[in-house]
Amino acid sequence: MGRAADFKNESSANLTSARMNETARIEVEPDPVPIVLILAATLRRAARTPKLAHAIGRTKGNVALKSTVDPQAATMRFGDGGVMVVRGVSEDTDVLITADINTMSDEHPPSPKVAGVGRHPKLAFTVSKLLDPPHGTWQQEAQRFFEFAIRKPGVPQSMRVVCTDDGSELTIGNPPAAYELHGSRHALLNVFCGNTVLGQDLLDGKLFAVGKLAHLAELTGRSLSWMLGQE
């Protein structure tokens, strides 16, 4: 029978529970909306770097991200040694980032508008670092994503990835590869880091694939879960 898509599979209770790092507590509101989950996932990725985890624990103030293309918005409330991410722009927001959230992951995205940076320069600078966390090579990130993805039945157990910039490639799992992905280094990094969703990248012509529709669907579901932080 069907396999459960797990892009919203964690219970709200689990999502709202604290996720402890060495120095960072990252929480989300009850019954969170996607942008809240995405921001929390980004902050968790940042918290893998000790310096940034420490920054999350020390930062105080409220930073909101507001989409210019739809009603999506969320506020990161830093304080008490961690951060709580909630929907909407809080009234007591210190720094407001306004951006086209559909193009934020582009190679050359338009600059977001940032309000409040004059009064809260350190807060704005810290959050800009947190929202652009360090990443490994596309091969390292592909490996990390794949290890997560194959935990779900239905996902191809091997994958060949080709970087179209330089022809470098990686086969994950046991060959022959059941699925192939081709794309630029930037596009591969984006999808494997959880900045974009595989199926959408294919539709947008940023990635190309060779494989079955069923595999595409399952991998896209895992890609979405990856983006939403359902690790």
Partner: protein
């Protein structure tokens, strides 16, 4: 009716075209217009239809974030197997017949996403307990003066209800204004063999309600589907519009209350005359209905918009409760009359798929008797405005999906495969709302909801 007799029937009624009516997971009617030659040649499996029709959401976006093993790997075909007992002359088009279909695979097996087959599966399970069910629905609809074209142009806002603007209900002055419309609806339903028991003006301006005679569960749902189609078609023909949205405006909503009764050896199961108390079977049945209510909310309220209706003092129940003739309880038990002993579920919205609603209701009851679930105490207070500590029902599409995902009781009858599929589709709906223009902070119906649901649910 057999394929042979169907051919004779088509000939004798001078039918040239057959409209096949399948039901999507969202309750939309999907199918083809077939020449009688094609229709007959495709029997008994029925015409092919792309499997893609069960692979996209109510907004037309493919469900491409999971895959079900029963799906065709390369987007091949399923079939619409006609239920020839539903073949009927179309009252609105010459030389045309309508037939309701199940969605089956190439071997004729119902696919898990076929809601009609799921309901039949549940009634078959009920029969193993020596029980038969009868059901009927209350269909609420709001009628507007504007045509669909005009309503689209105004983005479904500021429409003119075909009635006095005060929310009174049962007002014959309102019914009179709707007579031209309703008379044509009743004429066509009579032609389709759908027996209407009563109709009346309802509380929202422009809203009226149709009640159908009780029947076996699948027939009851077939009737709902045909009634909703006829209401839409007459609105199209007369230049007005209707909606079944659970909450098309900040003030008012449409429900889909469902009544069911059980019989064993012809005797009404729920009948409990004063002083004698209810049977153990009835107790367990109610226990199952209440226990599965949080998970079943995902089916009763399938859309983001559905939950705008489930608020206090708006006629829809908000806690998992039951009570004897208590309209603020989610499960209203009417046990005092042998002829009318029944249970009413008052939670489902007008946008819900009737087959799935009834399947979930009966599945809850069946689970109750199979697992000997005792009900909580009857609700003896008003079911609205209750504080924390009462068993409040999930109030968002995501919470309801989580409730169904973690449920085991409803799964035991509806099947894990179906429940997983359903949860996936609802989580997808959640994602679509939040990422394609829905406003999570809106306290009233959003443009996204109106665009997606007003015309077609």
């Amino acid at each position: 009716m057999t394929p042979d007799t169907a051919t004779q029937w088509l000939d004798s009624h001078e039918i040239a075209w057959v409209k096949t009516e399948g039901i999507s997971i969202d309750g939309l009617v999907i199918g083809k217009h077939l020449s009688t030659r094609k229709f007959v040649s495709a029997l008994p499996l029925g015409n092919a239809i792309t499997e893609f029709v069960i692979g996209y959401d109510i907004g037309g976006t493919p469900f491409l974030v999971w895959w079900d093993e029963w799906r065709r790997e390369a987007l091949g075909d399923f079939h619409q197997r006609p239920d020839l007992s539903t073949l009927v002359v179309a009252p609105d088009r010459p030389h045309t017949a309508n037939v309701i279909c199940d969605i089956v695979d190439l071997d004729g097996n119902p696919i898990p996403a076929c809601a009609r087959s799921k309901l039949r599966e549940v009634t078959d399970r009920l029969a193993t307990h020596g029980l038969t069910a009868k059901a009927s629905f209350e269909i609420e609809v709001i009628l507007y003066e504007e045509s669909y074209k005009q309503a689209r142009a105004s983005q479904w806002r500021d429409l003119t209800p075909m009635a006095h603007p005060a929310p009174l209900g049962y007002l014959h002055f309102n019914s009179r204004q709707q007579l031209r419309f309703v008379d044509e609806v009743l004429r066509r339903l009579d032609g389709l063999g759908v027996p209407i028991e009563a109709w009346h003006d309802e509380a929202a301006p422009g809203q009226f309600e149709l009640n159908i005679d009780p029947s076996d569960p699948v027939t009851a749902c077939d009737r709902v589907v045909r009634i909703k189609q006829v209401l839409r078609e007459v609105a199209l023909d007369q230049g007005c519009s209707v909606t079944f949205m659970a909450k098309p405006s900040p003030e008012f909503g449409n429900g889909l209350h469902v009544h069911h009764s059980l019989a064993r050896d012809g005797n009404p199961v729920f009948y409990a005359p004063d002083g004698e108390g209810m049977s153990e079977l009835t107790r367990h049945w109610i226990g199952g209905l209440v226990a599965t209510m949080p998970a079943a909310m995902s089916i009763f309220c399938p859309n983001v918009n559905s939950f705008r209706r489930v608020v206090g003092f708006a006629a829809a129940p908000t806690v998992a409760s039951w009570g004897e003739d208590d309209k603020s309880a989610a499960v209203r038990v009417l046990s005092r009359s042998p002829k009318a002993a029944r249970i009413e579920n008052r939670v489902a919205g007008g946008d819900a798929n009737p087959y799935l609603v009834l399947a979930a209701v009966l599945a809850g009851g069946i689970a109750g008797i199979e697992q000997s679930i005792e009900p909580p105490a009857a609700q003896n207070v008003a079911g609205w405005g209750l504080p924390a500590g009462f068993p409040h029902l999930p109030n968002t599409i995501s919470k309801a999906a989580d409730a169904m995902a973690s449920d085991v009781v409803l799964h035991s009858v509806l099947g894990a495969g179906f429940c997983e599929y359903w949860v996936n589709t609802r989580r997808w709906e959640w994602l679509m709302f939040h990422t394609t223009g829905g406003d999570p902070l809106a306290t009233s119906v959003t443009q996204w909801e109106l665009d997606r649901l007003f015309e077609i649910v």
